[in-house]
C-alpha cells in the first residue's frame, strides 16, 4: 500500500492511498474536524466515484471498526474501548428492563441519551444485526453501544437493567 501525505493550506490535510489492487482512496481531514473519504475509479485515478463525510466522533468510531477494535471476544460480556471521550461498550439487556420489546426508534436512544447502538446480537439466533429504528430490543440481546461514558451509564441504568 502506498500512502502520500500533503498539506492543503487553509483547508486541512490530505492522505492519498493506493492499495495493492490499484484502488485509490483519498482521505481529507479538514481543520474543522470533518473527515472526507473519496473513492476513485480503479482505471482512471482522476475520476472520483463516490465520497462520504464524517464528523469527528463518527470518524473515531469508524476508525475503531476498521481497526478491528470493536471485535468482541465471545467469552466476555462487557468490554469497552476508549477513544478519548467516546467509548464502545457491550451490554446484555436484562429481563424485564424497560427497553424490552420496544423498537430502537420508539425509545429514540440517540436523541434521548446521545448514545448510538452500533450492533445487536440477538439472543435467540446468536447472529449480529445491523440495527435500524425498527429493530426490537428483546431480553437477553447484547447491545453494542457507543457514546460518552456517563451517557452510556445512564442508558443502562434507565432502560437496559431492572
Amino acid at each position: 500500500m502506498n500512502i502520500r501525505e500533503s498539506e492543503l493550506p487553509g483547508i486541512g490535510y490530505k492522505f492519498e492511498i493506493i492499495t495493492k489492487n490499484q484502488d485509490k482512496l483519498v482521505i481529507v481531514i479538514h481543520d474543522d474536524g470533518r473527515r472526507e473519504i473519496y473513492h476513485f475509479d480503479t482505471d482512471d485515478h482522476e475520476e472520483v466515484l463516490s465520497s462520504v463525510t464524517f464528523n469527528d466522533s463518527e470518524s473515531r468510531q469508524i476508525a475503531g471498526i476498521l481497526g478491528g477494535m470493536t471485535y468482541k471476544p465471545k467469552a466476555l460480556e462487557t468490554v469497552d474501548f476508549a477513544f478519548d471521550d467516546i467509548i464502545i461498550e457491550w451490554y446484555q439487556v436484562e429481563p424485564n428492563a424497560p427497553a424490552v420489546n420496544k423498537t430502537i426508534g420508539e425509545i429514540d436512544i440517540r436523541n434521548n441519551f446521545g448514545v448510538n447502538i452500533i450492533a445487536i446480537k440477538k439472543k435467540n439466533t446468536q447472529k449480529s444485526h445491523n440495527p435500524g429504528p425498527d429493530t426490537v430490543i428483546e431480553a437477553g440481546d447484547t447491545l453494542v453501544v457507543s457514546g460518552g461514558r456517563q451517557q452510556i451509564k445512564e442508558l443502562i441504568k434507565k432502560l437496559l437493567s431492572t
Partner: protein, 406 residues
C-alpha cells in the same frame, strides 16, 4: 435622539440575512454583501424608523470595515510562513510565477490600452493578479475537489499569489502614500516600506524565541488583549511611516506565524476576521454609488474577460509543467480565477491615496463578475474540458467498458 446602535444593528441584520441567503444558495458571501451595500446606502429611502441610508452610522460602519481589513491581512500573514513556501517545491514556484506574471502583464497592458494614468494602471494590474483565497478554498471544499490531484497545486499557486500581494501592497503603499511626487521622494518612500518589511522579516527570524516567552500567557483574556493591542498599535504606527495599516497587520501576522503561539492566535482571530470581514464587504458596497456603475461596466467586463483567458492559460501551463493531465490543468485555471477580498483591498489602497474614483465601481463590478463566474466555471470545468477536447484532441474518448456477466 441617538440611533447609532440601532442603525449599526440594522446594518448587521442585513449583513446576517445576506450571509444566510448566500449560504443557502451555496455561494460565497462576498458578492452578496457588496450588492447589499450598494442597494442600501446613502441612496436608499428611510422607511419609518428603519434608516437604510446609514448616514449617521456611516463612519462607524466604515471603521468596523477597516478593522475587517486588518484582520483579513493579519490572518493572511499568520497563514503563510516562509518555511511553508520554502518546502512547497518546484511546481508551485514555477506555476505561481507563471500565474502572477501572465496576469500582471495582462493587467498592465489593459491599463495602458484603456488610457489609464500609470498609477491607476499599476493598481489595476495588481488587483487583476490576486485571486481570492477565501472563495477558492470554499469552492474546492463545496465541490468536493479537495481530493483531486490538482488541488495541491491550486492552493500552492494561491499561497504564492498571496506573497506577491504582500510584496505588491508594500511597494505600492510606498509609492502611493509618499508625501512627495519627485522620483527621489517616491524612491525613498519605497525604500522605507521595503526596509520596514525587511525589519519584520528579521524580527520573525531572530525574535521568535523572545516572542515565544513574552506571549506565554496562560489567561485567554489577557492573551487576546495583548494580541489585539499589538495588532492595532503596529497597524496604526505603520500608517505614520506611510506604510498602509493593512501592511502593518500583514507583517505582524508574518512575525507571529513564526512563533509557537501561531495556532492559538489563528484560532482566536478567525471569528473576528469573519465578522469584521463581512462588515468590510458591506461597507465597501455602501461606498459605491450605483449611478457610477454604468461608467465602469465595459472596463470591468473587459478586465474580467481578460482574467478568464489569462487564468485559463496560466493554469494550463502550470498544470502541464507539473505533469498533470489536460483535464486537471483545465480545472486549475478555472478554479483560481475567482476574485474577491484582496482585489478590493488593493483597490482601496489606490482610493485612499486619492487615485481616480472610477476604481471603486470598476473593482466592485470586476469582483462581482468574477466572484460569481469563477465558482461557476470551476463547477463546469469538466464540461468545459470536454468541449475544448473536441478541438484540441487531448485525449481519446474512452470506449465504454463491457462488463462480462457470467
Amino acid at each position: 435622539m441617538d440611533h447609532l446602535v440601532f442603525e449599526v444593528g440594522t446594518a448587521l441584520v442585513l449583513v446576517a440575512i445576506g450571509a444566510i441567503i448566500a449560504n443557502k444558495l451555496k455561494f460565497s458571501i462576498i458578492p452578496f454583501l457588496i450588492i447589499l451595500g450598494m442597494i442600501v446606502g446613502p441612496h436608499a429611502p428611510t422607511i419609518g424608523i428603519f434608516d437604510f441610508t446609514f448616514i449617521e452610522s456611516n463612519e462607524i460602519i466604515q471603521f468596523l470595515g477597516r478593522i475587517g481589513v486588518l484582520f483579513l491581512l493579519f490572518y493572511l500573514g499568520l497563514e503563510f510562513s516562509v518555511g511553508k513556501l520554502a518546502k512547497s517545491g518546484k511546481n508551485i514556484v514555477v506555476g505561481g510565477s507563471v500565474y502572477v506574471a501572465i496576469n500582471f502583464i495582462l493587467g498592465l497592458l489593459y491599463g495602458f490600452i484603456s488610457g489609464m494614468p500609470w498609477m491607476e494602471t499599476l493598481i489595476i494590474a495588481g488587483l487583476l493578479s490576486v485571486s481570492s483565497s477565501a472563495i477558492v478554498a470554499k469552492v474546492l471544499v463545496d465541490l468536493k475537489r479537495t481530493a483531486n490531484p490538482e488541488t495541491e497545486l491550486i492552493l500552492g499557486i494561491i499561497l504564492f499569489d498571496d506573497i506577491f500581494l504582500a510584496l505588491f501592497l508594500t511597494t505600492m503603499s510606498g509609492v502611493l502614500l509618499a508625501s512627495s511626487t519627485s522620483f527621489l521622494g517616491i524612491f525613498t518612500s519605497v525604500l522605507i516600506s521595503v526596509g520596514y518589511m525587511f525589519m519584520f522579516f528579521v524580527i520573525a527570524r531572530k525574535g521568535a524565541p523572545l516572542l515565544n516567552k513574552w506571549l506565554n500567557i496562560k489567561s485567554d483574556e489577557i492573551f487576546i488583549i495583548v494580541i489585539f493591542a499589538i495588532l492595532f498599535f503596529v497597524a496604526g504606527f505603520s500608517e505614520t511611516l506611510h506604510v498602509a495599516e493593512a501592511i502593518g497587520a500583514l507583517l505582524l501576522g508574518l512575525v507571529f506565524s513564526e512563533t509557537e503561539h501561531r495556532d492559538r492566535i489563528e484560532h482566536l482571530v478567525v471569528p473576528f476576521r469573519d465578522f469584521f470581514g463581512a462588515v468590510f464587504f458591506f461597507s465597501f458596497g455602501l461606498s459605491i454609488d450605483p449611478a457610477t456603475l454604468a461608467d465602469a461596466i465595459w472596463l470591468a467586463l473587459g478586465a474580467a474577460l481578460l482574467t478568464i483567458i489569462g487564468n485559463f492559460v496560466a493554469g494550463m501551463i502550470a498544470g502541464r509543467k507539473a505533469n498533470l493531465s489536460h483535464k486537471a490543468s483545465t480545472s486549475i485555471g478555472l478554479t483560481i480565477m475567482a476574485r474577491g477580498e484582496f482585489s478590493i483591498i488593493v483597490a482601496n489602497l489606490g482610493i485612499t491615496a486619492g487615485l481616480s474614483p472610477i476604481l471603486t465601481p470598476f473593482t466592485a463590478l470586476y469582483v462581482l463578475i468574477l466572484a460569481i463566474v469563477g465558482p461557476l466555471m470551476a463547477k463546469e470545468s469538466k464540461n468545459i474540458y470536454m468541449f475544448l477536447n473536441k478541438f484540441f484532441k487531448w485525449s481519446k474518448d474512452k470506449e465504454k467498458r463491457k462488463i462480462e456477466v457470467p
